[in-house]
């Protein structure tokens, strides 16, 4: 589309640049600052033992986990908003994070290790997805409205279970649980799973962009313009659920990224999904990488839950853009 097409390439290139800058910053900044020369030395196989250890086993995995989680959440949010044709939709609106939280907190409550917490978070996310989808089927197939209402109600149910678990849990486990609920990357050591899902998902959604533009006009208009509506909605639903489940498993339920990043980009770039979807991945990844860097440095040696920072950064930025567009 003429206007947005001209802005597409510079915008995507600019966002890629920002993303790389954010990753670099995230690796360089922390309790021990690492200069660019030292970074380069480590990258080319040299550098001191301390720096190698710090970068290779701590900061780089964490930065990559942050970037991929942000990308997954923003892409899932953009897809959910089109699927449900509701600008208020976010990756968690259908109860996925609630199910994951119950799984993760349950594992923490019985004192499980990291792997089991992640595993049961993922299982909870899938269980919740299936539950919502099964319930939304009802008598005559699901519609976005039905899916949305079912999801919101199931999420409320999970919310009650989470509150119950928090009330019942011993005081020494509470901080870990609250951090998980706000989103926390301090235990994210293996970002590879997230990247393994994110990269194919981006490649899969790129050719779907124009079809999603048509779907956003409503199911009847989309069908009249040659879209097989149900198969496309299925694909988007399954994909968005998977992306969210992987993100939540990596970093807990980080808020705001999935809701706000796609909207910020729509305000800046228009609503062509061919641009919004890849741009969401880049901007979501950048936002979460920067937020996580701040989360572990602002009050060092204390670490804040990254969800607090995404909200503190995201809310004013979004409100400014919204105001500017009036």
């Amino acid at each position: 589309m003429p206007a947005s097409k001209q802005r597409a390439l510079p915008a995507l290139l600019g966002l890629t640049g920002l993303g790389l800058l954010a990753l670099l910053l995230s690796v360089a900044v922390g309790s021990v600052s690492i200069s660019l020369q030292d970074l380069w030395a480590v990258a080319t196989g040299g550098g001191s033992e301390l720096y190698r250890e710090l970068i290779v086993s701590l900061r780089a995995p964490r930065a990559l986990a942050a970037f991929s989680t942000g990308g997954l959440l923003a892409l899932a949010g953009a897809l959910m908003q089109v699927l449900l044709r509701n600008p208020l939709a976010d990756p968690y609106v259908l109860g996925i994070s609630g199910g994951a939280a119950v799984g993760a907190l349950g594992a923490m409550l019985i004192g499980s290790g990291l792997a089991l917490v992640s595993g049961s978070a993922f299982a909870g996310a899938l269980l919740s997805t299936l539950l919502v989808f099964g319930l939304a089927q009802g008598g005559g197939g699901w519609t976005p409205t039905r899916l949305l209402l079912t999801g919101v109600v199931v999420a409320a149910g999970w919310g009650a279970v989470i509150t119950f678990m928090l009330t019942m849990s011993p005081a020494d486990r509470l901080p870990g649980m609250l951090y998980w609920l706000m989103g926390d990357l301090s235990y994210a050591r293996a970002p590879y799973g997230a990247w393994l899902v994110l990269v194919p998902a981006v490649l899969l959604t790129l050719p779907l962009g124009r079809s999603l533009n048509v779907l956003a006009r409503g199911p009847l208009q989309a069908a009249a313009l040659g879209i097989a509506v149900k198969p496309l909605e299925w694909l988007v639903y399954i994909l968005a659920s998977l992306l969210t489940a992987v993100a939540v498993t990596t970093a807990g339920s980080v808020g705001f990224v999935g809701l706000i990043v796609p909207h910020m980009l729509r305000l800046l770039l228009g609503n062509d999904q061919r641009i919004i979807l890849p741009a969401s991945v880049l901007a979501g990844g950048t936002l979460l990488t920067v937020a996580d860097t701040l989360a572990r440095t602002v009050m060092a040696p204390e670490q804040l839950p990254v969800g607090v920072i995404t909200a503190l950064l995201g809310v004013p930025t979004f409100l400014f853009l919204l105001h500017r567009n009036r």
Binding site: M1, S4, R217, L220, G226, A228, R266, N271
Partner: protein, 254 residues
């Protein structure tokens, strides 16, 4: 050959008993009008012909191929539907909205070509939307949005038009302009099949009429044979006065 062949069709309206089956052929160049009171099933019929809802019984064929055997994309390359209702959940400009009419002709990786953009621009000119092309559709008036819908269908370059109340929300000038446009499409070989609530527009612009009675009875044929005051009064359950203006009948509620 009939571009649209309707055989023994019973439209599936939940909770309604089977009416009289519909069997008729729409040929290229014809301008069909569907008349009937509110709730007679005009929109449901139109959606069934577009393949957007399955029929309860019977068959619809497009250029000889049963609709059920065609993909949505194949249908969309021939048939444009103008809907009565629109959904704009997300902001989009007039140009973006109209350009979406090219969707069925583009592959997944393809971007709109200069020719596609030209089709869209011509459609915008035809509906006098040039000055509005960068406006957000959500900021337009009802009549302007209606013209955007018709421009989208025109960008699709259809051989069959299925239009549900194409003159909805339009002022008198644009009602005539849109009917002229559809007329011209038919002259160029398209088949036009539209639901209308305005008897006088139907009388002036349609060459064939289909009357849908609320009890499921139906009757169709060349327009002059259908424009019988007694039949129309029974159709709408409304007394009519017929006047002659420039030698053509004009119907006014009595």
């Amino acid at each position: 050959m009939a571009v649209l062949d309707i055989e023994n069709l019973i439209v599936d309206i939940p909770g309604r008993a089977d009416g009289e089956p519909l069997g008729l052929q729409v040929k290229s160049g014809q301008r069909w009008g569907v008349l009937g009171p509110n709730g007679a099933g005009k929109t449901s019929l139109l959606h069934t012909l577009a393949g957007l809802r399955p029929p309860r019984r019977g068959r619809v064929s497009l250029n000889g191929s049963p609709l059920a055997s065609l993909s949505r994309r194949d249908v969309a390359r021939q048939v444009a539907v103008v809907f009565q209702e629109r959904q704009d959940s997300f902001p989009a400009t007039v140009m973006e909205t109209v350009l979406i009419g090219r969707h069925p002709f583009l592959s997944a990786w393809q971007r709109e070509s200069a020719e596609d953009i030209r089709f869209a621009q011509e459609a915008l000119s035809a509906l006098s939307l040039n000055l509005l092309k960068d406006r957000l559709v959500s900021t337009l008036s009802g009549g302007e949005r209606q013209r955007v819908s018709i421009a989208t269908a025109l960008t699709q370059q259809p051989t069959i038009w299925l239009a549900d109340e194409p003159t909805n929300h339009l002022d008198l000038h644009h009602q005539v302009a849109v009917m002229e446009l559809l007329n011209q499409q038919a002259d160029n070989g398209a088949a036009v099949f539209m639901c209308l609530h305005d008897l006088n527009l139907a009388a002036r612009w349609c060459d064939h009429l289909l009357l849908l009675y609320p009890d499921g009875e139906l009757c169709f044929g060349p327009a002059p044979a259908m424009l019988v005051p007694e039949a129309l009064e029974r159709l709408y359950d409304q007394k009519l006065v017929v006047a002659q203006v420039n030698g053509a009948p004009v119907f006014v509620p009595g």
